[in-house]
Protein backbone atom coordinates (compact mmCIF):
# COMPACT_ATOMS: atom_id res chain seq x y z
CA UNK A 1 0.00 0.00 0.00
CA UNK A 2 1.50 3.34 -1.03
CA UNK A 3 2.13 5.94 1.62
CA UNK A 4 -0.63 8.56 1.92
CA UNK A 5 0.08 11.52 -0.35
CA UNK A 6 2.98 9.80 -2.11
CA UNK A 7 3.16 10.02 -5.88
CA UNK A 8 2.19 6.35 -6.08
CA UNK A 9 -0.88 6.92 -3.87
CA UNK A 10 -1.97 9.98 -5.87
CA UNK A 11 -1.60 8.20 -9.20
CA UNK A 12 -3.35 5.07 -8.00
CA UNK A 13 -6.30 7.07 -6.61
CA UNK A 14 -6.45 9.36 -9.66
CA UNK A 15 -6.47 6.38 -12.04
CA UNK A 16 -9.26 4.78 -9.99
CA UNK A 17 -11.37 7.94 -10.31
CA UNK A 18 -10.76 8.26 -14.04
CA UNK A 19 -11.61 4.60 -14.61
CA UNK A 20 -14.87 4.75 -12.66
CA UNK A 21 -13.73 2.97 -9.50
CA UNK A 22 -14.65 5.82 -7.17
CA UNK A 23 -13.58 9.42 -6.50
CA UNK A 24 -13.27 9.34 -2.70
CA UNK A 25 -9.57 8.55 -2.34
CA UNK A 26 -8.41 11.24 -4.76
CA UNK A 27 -11.07 13.78 -3.74
CA UNK A 28 -9.58 13.81 -0.24
CA UNK A 29 -6.26 15.00 -1.73
CA UNK A 30 -7.71 17.74 -3.97
CA UNK A 31 -7.42 21.32 -2.77
CA UNK A 32 -10.95 22.78 -2.61
CA UNK A 33 -11.76 25.03 -5.56
CA UNK A 34 -14.21 27.76 -4.75
CA UNK A 35 -17.71 26.69 -5.80
CA UNK A 36 -16.55 23.60 -7.73
CA UNK A 37 -16.90 20.09 -6.26
CA UNK A 38 -13.94 17.75 -6.78
CA UNK A 39 -16.14 15.48 -8.90
CA UNK A 40 -16.60 18.30 -11.42
CA UNK A 41 -12.84 18.92 -11.56
CA UNK A 42 -12.31 15.21 -12.18
CA UNK A 43 -15.03 15.27 -14.83
CA UNK A 44 -12.88 17.68 -16.86
CA UNK A 45 -10.16 15.03 -17.01
CA UNK A 46 -12.71 12.25 -17.65
CA UNK A 47 -14.16 14.28 -20.51
CA UNK A 48 -10.72 15.03 -21.93
CA UNK A 49 -9.84 11.33 -21.93
CA UNK A 50 -13.12 10.34 -23.55
CA UNK A 51 -12.69 13.10 -26.15
CA UNK A 52 -9.12 12.09 -26.97
CA UNK A 53 -9.93 8.41 -27.39
CA UNK A 54 -13.11 9.13 -29.33
CA UNK A 55 -11.38 11.62 -31.64
CA UNK A 56 -8.71 9.04 -32.31
CA UNK A 57 -11.28 6.33 -33.17
CA UNK A 58 -13.35 8.74 -35.24
CA UNK A 59 -10.27 9.47 -37.32
CA UNK A 60 -9.68 5.77 -37.81
CA UNK A 61 -13.32 4.87 -38.52
CA UNK A 62 -14.90 7.84 -40.38
CA UNK A 63 -17.38 5.67 -42.33
CA UNK A 64 -18.55 3.83 -39.23
CA UNK A 65 -18.97 7.20 -37.49
CA UNK A 66 -21.07 8.47 -40.40
CA UNK A 67 -23.18 5.29 -40.42
CA UNK A 68 -24.03 5.23 -36.72
CA UNK A 69 -24.16 8.99 -36.11
CA UNK A 70 -22.48 11.18 -33.49
CA UNK A 71 -24.61 10.19 -30.48
CA UNK A 72 -24.40 6.44 -31.04
CA UNK A 73 -20.68 6.66 -31.77
CA UNK A 74 -19.98 8.45 -28.47
CA UNK A 75 -22.05 5.98 -26.46
CA UNK A 76 -20.43 3.03 -28.22
CA UNK A 77 -17.00 4.55 -27.51
CA UNK A 78 -17.76 4.82 -23.79
CA UNK A 79 -18.36 1.07 -23.70
CA UNK A 80 -15.38 0.34 -25.90
CA UNK A 81 -13.01 2.47 -23.78
CA UNK A 82 -14.21 0.76 -20.61
CA UNK A 83 -13.33 -2.65 -22.04
CA UNK A 84 -10.30 -1.68 -24.13
CA UNK A 85 -8.11 0.82 -22.35
CA UNK A 86 -4.98 2.04 -24.11
CA UNK A 87 -1.75 0.56 -22.78
CA UNK A 88 0.50 3.35 -24.11
CA UNK A 89 0.37 6.85 -25.51
CA UNK A 90 0.57 6.06 -29.20
CA UNK A 91 -2.96 6.80 -30.29
CA UNK A 92 -2.18 5.60 -33.84
CA UNK A 93 -2.33 2.09 -32.34
CA UNK A 94 -5.54 2.64 -30.37
CA UNK A 95 -8.94 1.33 -31.43
CA UNK A 96 -7.70 -1.70 -33.32
CA UNK A 97 -9.94 -4.02 -31.28
CA UNK A 98 -13.09 -2.24 -32.40
CA UNK A 99 -14.09 -4.78 -35.11
CA UNK A 100 -14.00 -7.61 -32.55
CA UNK A 101 -15.86 -5.45 -30.02
CA UNK A 102 -18.60 -4.80 -32.60
CA UNK A 103 -19.08 -8.56 -32.94
CA UNK A 104 -19.02 -9.26 -29.21
CA UNK A 105 -22.09 -10.34 -27.27
CA UNK A 106 -21.49 -7.38 -25.01
CA UNK A 107 -22.10 -5.02 -27.91
CA UNK A 108 -24.89 -7.02 -29.57
CA UNK A 109 -26.85 -7.40 -26.36
CA UNK A 110 -26.57 -3.73 -25.56
CA UNK A 111 -27.30 -2.21 -28.93
CA UNK A 112 -30.32 -3.30 -30.86
CA UNK A 113 -28.94 -1.55 -33.97
CA UNK A 114 -26.08 -4.04 -34.04
CA UNK A 115 -28.52 -6.77 -35.00
CA UNK A 116 -30.27 -4.66 -37.62
CA UNK A 117 -26.93 -3.65 -39.15
CA UNK A 118 -24.78 -6.76 -38.94
CA UNK A 119 -22.10 -5.25 -41.22
CA UNK A 120 -20.73 -2.72 -38.67
CA UNK A 121 -17.83 -4.97 -37.69
CA UNK A 122 -16.81 -5.56 -41.31
CA UNK A 123 -16.98 -1.83 -42.11
CA UNK A 124 -14.64 -1.27 -39.17
CA UNK A 125 -12.42 -4.10 -40.44
CA UNK A 126 -12.25 -2.43 -43.86
CA UNK A 127 -11.33 0.96 -42.36
CA UNK A 128 -8.73 -0.56 -40.03
CA UNK A 129 -7.16 -2.51 -42.91
CA UNK A 130 -7.05 0.69 -45.00
CA UNK A 131 -5.22 2.53 -42.21
CA UNK A 132 -2.80 -0.34 -41.71
CA UNK A 133 -2.00 -0.53 -45.42
CA UNK A 134 -1.60 3.25 -45.60
CA UNK A 135 0.96 3.24 -42.78
CA UNK A 136 2.68 -0.05 -43.66
CA UNK A 137 6.46 -0.13 -44.20
CA UNK A 138 7.86 1.11 -47.48
CA UNK A 139 9.02 -1.75 -49.67
CA UNK A 140 9.88 -2.06 -53.35
CA UNK A 141 7.40 -4.37 -55.10
CA UNK A 142 8.52 -7.53 -56.81
CA UNK A 143 9.87 -6.71 -60.28
CA UNK A 144 7.81 -8.65 -62.88
CA UNK A 145 11.00 -9.14 -64.92
CA UNK A 146 11.99 -11.92 -62.49
CA UNK A 147 9.65 -14.29 -64.34
CA UNK A 148 11.91 -14.28 -67.39
CA UNK A 149 14.53 -16.21 -65.41
CA UNK A 150 12.20 -18.95 -64.15
CA UNK A 151 12.13 -22.15 -66.22
CA UNK A 152 8.50 -22.69 -67.39
CA UNK A 153 8.24 -26.05 -65.64
CA UNK A 154 9.06 -24.37 -62.29
CA UNK A 155 6.49 -21.59 -62.48
CA UNK A 156 3.69 -23.48 -60.85
CA UNK A 157 5.70 -24.23 -57.74
CA UNK A 158 6.44 -20.52 -57.09
CA UNK A 159 5.18 -19.04 -53.84
CA UNK A 160 4.50 -15.32 -53.42
CA UNK A 161 4.45 -13.03 -50.41
CA UNK A 162 2.02 -10.15 -50.42
CA UNK A 163 3.66 -6.76 -49.91
CA UNK A 164 3.14 -5.31 -46.41
CA UNK A 165 1.00 -2.54 -47.93
CA UNK A 166 -1.47 -4.97 -49.56
CA UNK A 167 -4.08 -7.24 -47.96
CA UNK A 168 -7.31 -9.07 -48.74
CA UNK A 169 -10.66 -8.74 -47.04
CA UNK A 170 -13.83 -10.78 -47.54
CA UNK A 171 -17.23 -10.04 -46.05
CA UNK A 172 -20.72 -11.52 -46.49
CA UNK A 173 -21.89 -7.88 -46.79
CA UNK A 174 -21.29 -5.34 -49.58
CA UNK A 175 -18.92 -3.40 -47.35
CA UNK A 176 -17.22 -1.40 -50.10
CA UNK A 177 -20.57 -0.05 -51.34
CA UNK A 178 -21.68 0.71 -47.77
CA UNK A 179 -18.33 2.39 -47.10
CA UNK A 180 -18.66 4.59 -50.19
CA UNK A 181 -22.23 5.50 -49.25
CA UNK A 182 -21.18 6.43 -45.70
CA UNK A 183 -18.21 8.51 -46.86
CA UNK A 184 -20.41 10.36 -49.36
CA UNK A 185 -22.96 11.02 -46.60
CA UNK A 186 -20.16 12.30 -44.33
CA UNK A 187 -19.41 14.84 -47.09
CA UNK A 188 -23.09 15.83 -47.23
CA UNK A 189 -23.96 13.77 -50.30
CA UNK A 190 -27.00 11.60 -49.51
CA UNK A 191 -27.64 10.61 -53.12
CA UNK A 192 -25.69 7.33 -53.00
CA UNK A 193 -28.20 4.48 -52.65
CA UNK A 194 -27.82 1.75 -50.08
CA UNK A 195 -26.78 -1.53 -51.70
CA UNK A 196 -28.81 -4.73 -51.43
CA UNK A 197 -27.57 -6.65 -48.39
CA UNK A 198 -28.70 -10.14 -49.31
CA UNK A 199 -26.45 -12.24 -51.52
CA UNK A 200 -24.03 -9.40 -52.08
CA UNK A 201 -20.68 -10.36 -50.57
CA UNK A 202 -17.50 -8.30 -50.90
CA UNK A 203 -14.10 -9.68 -51.90
CA UNK A 204 -11.56 -6.90 -51.75
CA UNK A 205 -7.92 -6.12 -52.35
CA UNK A 206 -6.78 -3.22 -50.16
CA UNK A 207 -3.51 -1.73 -51.36
CA UNK A 208 -1.46 1.43 -51.00
CA UNK A 209 -0.73 2.83 -54.46
CA UNK A 210 1.18 6.11 -54.91
CA UNK A 211 0.64 7.16 -51.30
CA UNK A 212 -3.09 6.48 -51.21
CA UNK A 213 -5.12 3.41 -50.33
CA UNK A 214 -7.23 1.84 -53.05
CA UNK A 215 -9.95 -0.69 -52.33
CA UNK A 216 -10.40 -2.91 -55.36
CA UNK A 217 -13.31 -5.38 -55.71
CA UNK A 218 -12.17 -8.76 -57.03
CA UNK A 219 -13.99 -11.62 -58.72
CA UNK A 220 -14.44 -14.78 -56.68
CA UNK A 221 -11.73 -16.55 -58.67
CA UNK A 222 -9.17 -13.72 -58.43
CA UNK A 223 -9.83 -13.37 -54.71
CA UNK A 224 -9.49 -17.13 -54.11
CA UNK A 225 -6.23 -17.16 -56.05
CA UNK A 226 -4.63 -14.29 -54.07
CA UNK A 227 -6.03 -15.61 -50.80
CA UNK A 228 -4.47 -19.00 -51.45
CA UNK A 229 -1.09 -17.45 -52.34
CA UNK A 230 -1.28 -15.29 -49.22
CA UNK A 231 -1.88 -18.46 -47.16
CA UNK A 232 1.40 -19.86 -48.51
CA UNK A 233 0.16 -22.18 -51.26
CA UNK A 234 2.11 -22.50 -54.52
CA UNK A 235 1.00 -20.84 -57.74
CA UNK A 236 -0.31 -24.05 -59.33
CA UNK A 237 -2.29 -25.04 -56.27
CA UNK A 238 -3.69 -21.52 -55.93
CA UNK A 239 -4.76 -21.42 -59.57
CA UNK A 240 -6.54 -24.77 -59.13
CA UNK A 241 -8.44 -23.38 -56.13
CA UNK A 242 -9.40 -20.35 -58.18
CA UNK A 243 -10.67 -22.47 -61.10
CA UNK A 244 -12.76 -24.45 -58.64
CA UNK A 245 -14.50 -21.29 -57.45
CA UNK A 246 -14.84 -19.62 -60.87
CA UNK A 247 -14.68 -21.60 -64.10
CA UNK A 248 -13.66 -18.64 -66.30
CA UNK A 249 -10.78 -17.72 -63.97
CA UNK A 250 -7.98 -16.14 -66.03
CA UNK A 251 -4.63 -16.89 -64.40
CA UNK A 252 -2.37 -14.84 -66.68
CA UNK A 253 -4.65 -11.80 -66.44
CA UNK A 254 -4.80 -11.72 -62.63
CA UNK A 255 -1.10 -12.48 -62.28
CA UNK A 256 -0.01 -9.71 -64.63
CA UNK A 257 -2.39 -7.23 -63.00
CA UNK A 258 -1.21 -8.14 -59.52
CA UNK A 259 2.44 -7.85 -60.56
CA UNK A 260 1.95 -4.51 -62.29
CA UNK A 261 0.12 -3.14 -59.24
CA UNK A 262 2.91 -4.31 -56.95
CA UNK A 263 0.80 -6.70 -54.86
CA UNK A 264 3.76 -8.99 -54.20
CA UNK A 265 6.94 -8.20 -52.30
CA UNK A 266 8.87 -11.38 -53.00
CA UNK A 267 8.69 -14.95 -54.21
CA UNK A 268 10.33 -18.23 -53.39
CA UNK A 269 11.10 -21.17 -55.66
CA UNK A 270 10.68 -24.64 -54.35
Amino acid sequence: MAETGSLAAVQSAFAAALEGRGDDAIAAMIKPMDGVPAGIQLDIYRNNIHAALTRSCQGLYPALHALVGEGFFHQMMRDYHRLHRPAHGRMVDYGHDLPAFLESDDFRNRYEAANRHPYFADIARLELASFKMLSAPEMAPLDPAFLANIPPQDVESLRFDLAPYACLLASPWPVLDIYKMAMAAAEGDDSVNAPALADNPARLLIIRLHGDVEIIPLSYGDFSFLMSLDAGAALGESAAAAFASQNDFDLSSVLSQALSMGVFASFTEK
Partner: protein, 299 residues
Protein backbone atom coordinates in the same frame (compact mmCIF):
# COMPACT_ATOMS: atom_id res chain seq x y z
CA UNK B 1 29.94 17.14 -21.59
CA UNK B 2 28.58 13.81 -20.30
CA UNK B 3 27.08 11.29 -22.69
CA UNK B 4 26.84 13.59 -25.70
CA UNK B 5 24.19 15.74 -24.02
CA UNK B 6 24.02 18.22 -26.82
CA UNK B 7 22.23 21.46 -26.13
CA UNK B 8 19.33 22.17 -28.43
CA UNK B 9 20.24 23.66 -31.76
CA UNK B 10 20.08 27.43 -31.76
CA UNK B 11 16.92 28.73 -33.35
CA UNK B 12 16.15 32.11 -34.81
CA UNK B 13 13.60 33.98 -32.75
CA UNK B 14 10.75 33.24 -35.04
CA UNK B 15 7.23 31.86 -34.88
CA UNK B 16 5.99 28.46 -36.04
CA UNK B 17 2.71 26.59 -36.35
CA UNK B 18 1.64 23.21 -34.99
CA UNK B 19 1.49 21.07 -38.13
CA UNK B 20 -1.72 19.15 -38.82
CA UNK B 21 -2.44 16.72 -41.64
CA UNK B 22 -4.89 19.33 -42.96
CA UNK B 23 -1.96 21.79 -43.46
CA UNK B 24 0.31 19.61 -45.60
CA UNK B 25 -0.95 21.02 -48.87
CA UNK B 26 -0.83 24.66 -47.71
CA UNK B 27 2.72 24.20 -46.48
CA UNK B 28 4.13 22.22 -49.39
CA UNK B 29 2.45 24.29 -52.10
CA UNK B 30 2.52 27.71 -50.48
CA UNK B 31 5.84 27.56 -48.55
CA UNK B 32 4.61 30.07 -45.98
CA UNK B 33 7.25 32.31 -44.40
CA UNK B 34 7.44 30.61 -40.98
CA UNK B 35 10.32 29.85 -38.63
CA UNK B 36 9.46 26.22 -37.94
CA UNK B 37 6.78 23.54 -37.60
CA UNK B 38 6.01 21.31 -34.65
CA UNK B 39 4.35 17.87 -34.47
CA UNK B 40 3.43 15.34 -31.83
CA UNK B 41 5.89 12.51 -32.49
CA UNK B 42 3.26 9.95 -31.41
CA UNK B 43 1.28 10.74 -34.59
CA UNK B 44 4.30 9.71 -36.65
CA UNK B 45 5.16 6.47 -34.87
CA UNK B 46 4.19 4.56 -38.00
CA UNK B 47 6.09 2.05 -40.10
CA UNK B 48 5.71 4.00 -43.34
CA UNK B 49 3.30 5.77 -45.63
CA UNK B 50 2.35 9.24 -46.81
CA UNK B 51 2.18 10.91 -43.38
CA UNK B 52 5.87 10.27 -42.76
CA UNK B 53 6.70 11.23 -46.33
CA UNK B 54 4.84 14.53 -46.04
CA UNK B 55 6.72 15.33 -42.85
CA UNK B 56 9.99 14.48 -44.59
CA UNK B 57 9.11 16.82 -47.45
CA UNK B 58 8.20 19.63 -45.05
CA UNK B 59 11.33 19.03 -42.97
CA UNK B 60 13.39 19.57 -46.11
CA UNK B 61 12.27 23.22 -46.06
CA UNK B 62 11.69 24.04 -42.38
CA UNK B 63 13.18 23.36 -38.94
CA UNK B 64 11.05 20.93 -36.94
CA UNK B 65 10.20 20.53 -33.27
CA UNK B 66 9.01 17.23 -31.77
CA UNK B 67 6.54 17.90 -28.97
CA UNK B 68 5.68 14.69 -27.14
CA UNK B 69 2.41 13.96 -25.38
CA UNK B 70 2.88 10.25 -24.66
CA UNK B 71 6.03 9.75 -22.57
CA UNK B 72 4.32 10.32 -19.19
CA UNK B 73 7.50 11.59 -17.53
CA UNK B 74 5.66 12.31 -14.28
CA UNK B 75 4.69 8.68 -13.67
CA UNK B 76 6.04 6.98 -10.58
CA UNK B 77 7.43 4.24 -12.87
CA UNK B 78 10.35 4.61 -15.29
CA UNK B 79 9.45 5.96 -18.72
CA UNK B 80 8.54 3.28 -21.26
CA UNK B 81 11.74 2.18 -23.00
CA UNK B 82 9.90 1.17 -26.18
CA UNK B 83 8.44 4.66 -26.41
CA UNK B 84 11.89 6.22 -26.06
CA UNK B 85 13.27 3.93 -28.78
CA UNK B 86 10.52 5.03 -31.15
CA UNK B 87 11.12 8.67 -30.28
CA UNK B 88 14.85 8.27 -30.88
CA UNK B 89 14.16 6.77 -34.30
CA UNK B 90 12.07 9.82 -35.23
CA UNK B 91 14.73 12.15 -33.84
CA UNK B 92 17.38 10.42 -35.95
CA UNK B 93 15.24 10.65 -39.07
CA UNK B 94 13.89 14.19 -38.72
CA UNK B 95 16.69 15.95 -36.78
CA UNK B 96 14.44 18.28 -34.77
CA UNK B 97 15.94 21.48 -33.37
CA UNK B 98 14.13 20.76 -30.12
CA UNK B 99 12.34 17.86 -28.39
CA UNK B 100 9.85 18.60 -25.64
CA UNK B 101 7.45 16.91 -23.21
CA UNK B 102 5.16 17.89 -20.35
CA UNK B 103 5.19 18.37 -16.60
CA UNK B 104 2.44 15.77 -16.24
CA UNK B 105 1.71 12.07 -16.13
CA UNK B 106 -0.62 9.80 -18.10
CA UNK B 107 0.50 6.26 -17.39
CA UNK B 108 -0.35 4.33 -14.26
CA UNK B 109 1.20 0.87 -14.30
CA UNK B 110 -0.11 -0.68 -17.54
CA UNK B 111 -2.94 1.82 -18.09
CA UNK B 112 -2.55 4.86 -20.28
CA UNK B 113 -4.94 7.66 -19.31
CA UNK B 114 -4.91 9.77 -22.46
CA UNK B 115 -4.67 13.24 -20.98
CA UNK B 116 -1.93 15.36 -19.40
CA UNK B 117 -2.70 14.73 -15.72
CA UNK B 118 -1.53 17.05 -12.93
CA UNK B 119 1.38 16.15 -10.70
CA UNK B 120 1.35 16.77 -6.97
CA UNK B 121 4.08 19.40 -6.60
CA UNK B 122 6.00 17.44 -3.97
CA UNK B 123 9.65 16.37 -3.48
CA UNK B 124 8.53 12.81 -4.19
CA UNK B 125 7.04 13.79 -7.57
CA UNK B 126 10.06 15.96 -8.38
CA UNK B 127 12.40 13.00 -7.83
CA UNK B 128 10.30 10.74 -10.12
CA UNK B 129 9.98 13.42 -12.81
CA UNK B 130 13.69 14.29 -12.69
CA UNK B 131 14.64 10.61 -13.01
CA UNK B 132 12.42 10.23 -16.09
CA UNK B 133 13.64 13.47 -17.69
CA UNK B 134 17.15 12.11 -17.16
CA UNK B 135 16.23 8.77 -18.76
CA UNK B 136 14.72 10.54 -21.76
CA UNK B 137 17.70 12.89 -22.17
CA UNK B 138 20.09 9.94 -21.94
CA UNK B 139 18.09 7.96 -24.50
CA UNK B 140 17.97 10.88 -26.94
CA UNK B 141 21.49 12.14 -26.24
CA UNK B 142 20.27 15.72 -25.83
CA UNK B 143 18.52 18.01 -23.42
CA UNK B 144 14.76 18.33 -23.72
CA UNK B 145 12.28 21.07 -22.86
CA UNK B 146 9.51 20.54 -20.29
CA UNK B 147 6.19 22.36 -20.68
CA UNK B 148 3.98 23.73 -17.90
CA UNK B 149 0.51 22.17 -18.38
CA UNK B 150 -3.03 23.48 -17.97
CA UNK B 151 -4.50 22.05 -14.78
CA UNK B 152 -7.99 21.86 -13.36
CA UNK B 153 -7.13 20.84 -9.82
CA UNK B 154 -4.36 21.24 -7.26
CA UNK B 155 -3.33 18.95 -4.42
CA UNK B 156 -3.66 19.81 -0.74
CA UNK B 157 -0.21 18.48 0.05
CA UNK B 158 1.78 20.44 -2.57
CA UNK B 159 5.19 21.41 -1.18
CA UNK B 160 6.14 24.05 -3.74
CA UNK B 161 4.77 26.27 -6.50
CA UNK B 162 4.92 25.19 -10.13
CA UNK B 163 7.68 27.69 -11.06
CA UNK B 164 9.75 26.42 -8.11
CA UNK B 165 9.12 22.80 -9.17
CA UNK B 166 10.23 23.66 -12.73
CA UNK B 167 13.29 25.55 -11.46
CA UNK B 168 14.32 22.55 -9.37
CA UNK B 169 13.78 20.25 -12.34
CA UNK B 170 16.00 22.45 -14.51
CA UNK B 171 18.71 22.45 -11.82
CA UNK B 172 18.60 18.71 -11.31
CA UNK B 173 18.42 17.55 -14.93
CA UNK B 174 19.79 20.38 -17.06
CA UNK B 175 16.57 20.34 -19.07
CA UNK B 176 15.10 23.49 -20.56
CA UNK B 177 11.56 24.83 -20.37
CA UNK B 178 8.79 25.19 -22.88
CA UNK B 179 6.73 28.03 -21.48
CA UNK B 180 3.07 27.76 -22.46
CA UNK B 181 1.60 31.24 -21.97
CA UNK B 182 -1.98 30.07 -22.48
CA UNK B 183 -1.53 27.38 -19.83
CA UNK B 184 -0.24 29.97 -17.36
CA UNK B 185 -3.30 32.13 -18.06
CA UNK B 186 -5.66 29.14 -17.74
CA UNK B 187 -4.09 28.00 -14.45
CA UNK B 188 -3.87 31.52 -13.01
CA UNK B 189 -7.57 31.92 -13.64
CA UNK B 190 -8.54 28.44 -12.40
CA UNK B 191 -6.38 28.48 -9.28
CA UNK B 192 -6.31 32.18 -8.53
CA UNK B 193 -2.66 33.20 -8.78
CA UNK B 194 -0.96 36.17 -10.41
CA UNK B 195 0.43 35.17 -13.83
CA UNK B 196 3.02 37.96 -13.70
CA UNK B 197 4.38 36.62 -10.41
CA UNK B 198 4.50 33.16 -12.00
CA UNK B 199 6.58 34.52 -14.90
CA UNK B 200 8.88 36.39 -12.53
CA UNK B 201 9.65 33.12 -10.73
CA UNK B 202 10.57 31.21 -13.90
CA UNK B 203 14.29 30.80 -14.71
CA UNK B 204 14.22 32.73 -17.98
CA UNK B 205 17.51 31.46 -19.34
CA UNK B 206 16.06 27.93 -19.42
CA UNK B 207 13.20 28.85 -21.75
CA UNK B 208 13.84 27.31 -25.16
CA UNK B 209 10.41 27.75 -26.68
CA UNK B 210 7.05 29.40 -26.04
CA UNK B 211 3.58 28.03 -26.82
CA UNK B 212 0.52 30.14 -27.61
CA UNK B 213 -3.02 28.80 -27.97
CA UNK B 214 -6.68 29.49 -27.45
CA UNK B 215 -8.87 28.02 -24.71
CA UNK B 216 -12.54 27.68 -23.76
CA UNK B 217 -14.44 28.88 -20.72
CA UNK B 218 -16.84 26.45 -19.02
CA UNK B 219 -19.21 27.71 -16.38
CA UNK B 220 -19.95 25.81 -13.15
CA UNK B 221 -22.55 27.64 -11.11
CA UNK B 222 -21.20 31.11 -10.49
CA UNK B 223 -17.65 30.54 -11.60
CA UNK B 224 -15.67 30.04 -14.77
CA UNK B 225 -13.26 27.22 -15.36
CA UNK B 226 -10.89 27.73 -18.25
CA UNK B 227 -10.21 24.64 -20.36
CA UNK B 228 -7.17 24.32 -22.61
CA UNK B 229 -8.77 23.25 -25.89
CA UNK B 230 -6.47 24.57 -28.63
CA UNK B 231 -9.78 25.13 -30.37
CA UNK B 232 -10.09 28.92 -30.56
CA UNK B 233 -8.05 31.98 -31.56
CA UNK B 234 -5.55 33.23 -28.97
CA UNK B 235 -7.39 35.67 -26.68
CA UNK B 236 -6.28 39.24 -25.87
CA UNK B 237 -5.32 38.39 -22.28
CA UNK B 238 -2.93 35.68 -23.51
CA UNK B 239 -1.41 38.05 -26.07
CA UNK B 240 -0.90 40.62 -23.30
CA UNK B 241 0.81 38.00 -21.13
CA UNK B 242 2.99 36.99 -24.08
CA UNK B 243 3.98 40.58 -24.61
CA UNK B 244 4.94 40.76 -20.94
CA UNK B 245 6.89 37.47 -21.09
CA UNK B 246 8.86 38.54 -24.17
CA UNK B 247 9.59 41.80 -22.37
CA UNK B 248 10.97 39.84 -19.41
CA UNK B 249 12.85 37.08 -21.19
CA UNK B 250 13.53 38.39 -24.68
CA UNK B 251 12.40 36.72 -27.91
CA UNK B 252 12.01 32.93 -28.05
CA UNK B 253 10.85 30.53 -30.79
CA UNK B 254 7.07 30.77 -30.46
CA UNK B 255 4.57 28.16 -31.56
CA UNK B 256 0.94 28.79 -32.49
CA UNK B 257 -0.95 25.64 -31.43
CA UNK B 258 -4.33 24.85 -32.90
CA UNK B 259 -5.72 21.32 -32.78
CA UNK B 260 -9.47 21.78 -32.98
CA UNK B 261 -11.90 23.92 -35.03
CA UNK B 262 -9.09 24.40 -37.53
CA UNK B 263 -9.39 27.80 -39.24
CA UNK B 264 -7.99 28.61 -42.70
CA UNK B 265 -4.20 28.32 -42.63
CA UNK B 266 -3.94 32.07 -43.25
CA UNK B 267 -5.53 32.75 -39.82
CA UNK B 268 -2.80 30.76 -38.07
CA UNK B 269 -0.17 32.47 -40.19
CA UNK B 270 -1.57 35.83 -39.05
CA UNK B 271 -1.20 34.76 -35.40
CA UNK B 272 2.38 33.65 -36.07
CA UNK B 273 3.12 37.03 -37.69
CA UNK B 274 1.64 38.82 -34.70
CA UNK B 275 3.99 36.90 -32.39
CA UNK B 276 6.93 37.85 -34.60
CA UNK B 277 5.90 41.52 -34.53
CA UNK B 278 5.82 41.43 -30.73
CA UNK B 279 9.24 39.78 -30.63
CA UNK B 280 10.65 42.29 -33.10
CA UNK B 281 9.28 45.14 -30.99
CA UNK B 282 10.92 43.82 -27.84
CA UNK B 283 14.16 42.99 -29.59
CA UNK B 284 14.67 46.61 -30.63
CA UNK B 285 17.83 48.33 -29.32
CA UNK B 286 15.79 50.08 -26.62
CA UNK B 287 15.06 46.67 -25.05
CA UNK B 288 16.90 46.40 -21.77
CA UNK B 289 17.37 42.89 -20.56
CA UNK B 290 17.54 42.25 -16.82
CA UNK B 291 21.13 41.40 -15.84
CA UNK B 292 20.32 37.98 -14.43
CA UNK B 293 18.81 36.98 -17.80
CA UNK B 294 21.75 38.21 -19.85
CA UNK B 295 22.75 34.70 -20.87
CA UNK B 296 19.28 34.01 -22.24
CA UNK B 297 19.88 35.82 -25.49
CA UNK B 298 23.38 34.50 -25.95
CA UNK B 299 23.01 30.95 -24.65
Amino acid sequence: MPLAQQPDKPMPHRAGIGLKVEHYRDVLNGRPDLGFFEVHPENYMLAGGPRLQALQAIRAHYPLSLHGVGASLGSKDPVDRDHLDRLKALQDRFEPFVVSEHLSWSRFEDHFLSDLLPLPLTRDALAAMAANVGRMQDALGRTILIENPSTYLEFTHAEMSEPDFLSELVKETGCGLLLDINNIHVCASNHGFDPHAYLAAIPGSAIGEIHMAGHAIDRYGARDIRIDTHGAPICDDVWALYDHAIGLFGPRPTLIERDDNLPPFADLLAEAQKAERIMAGKASPSFKQPDHLAEANHG
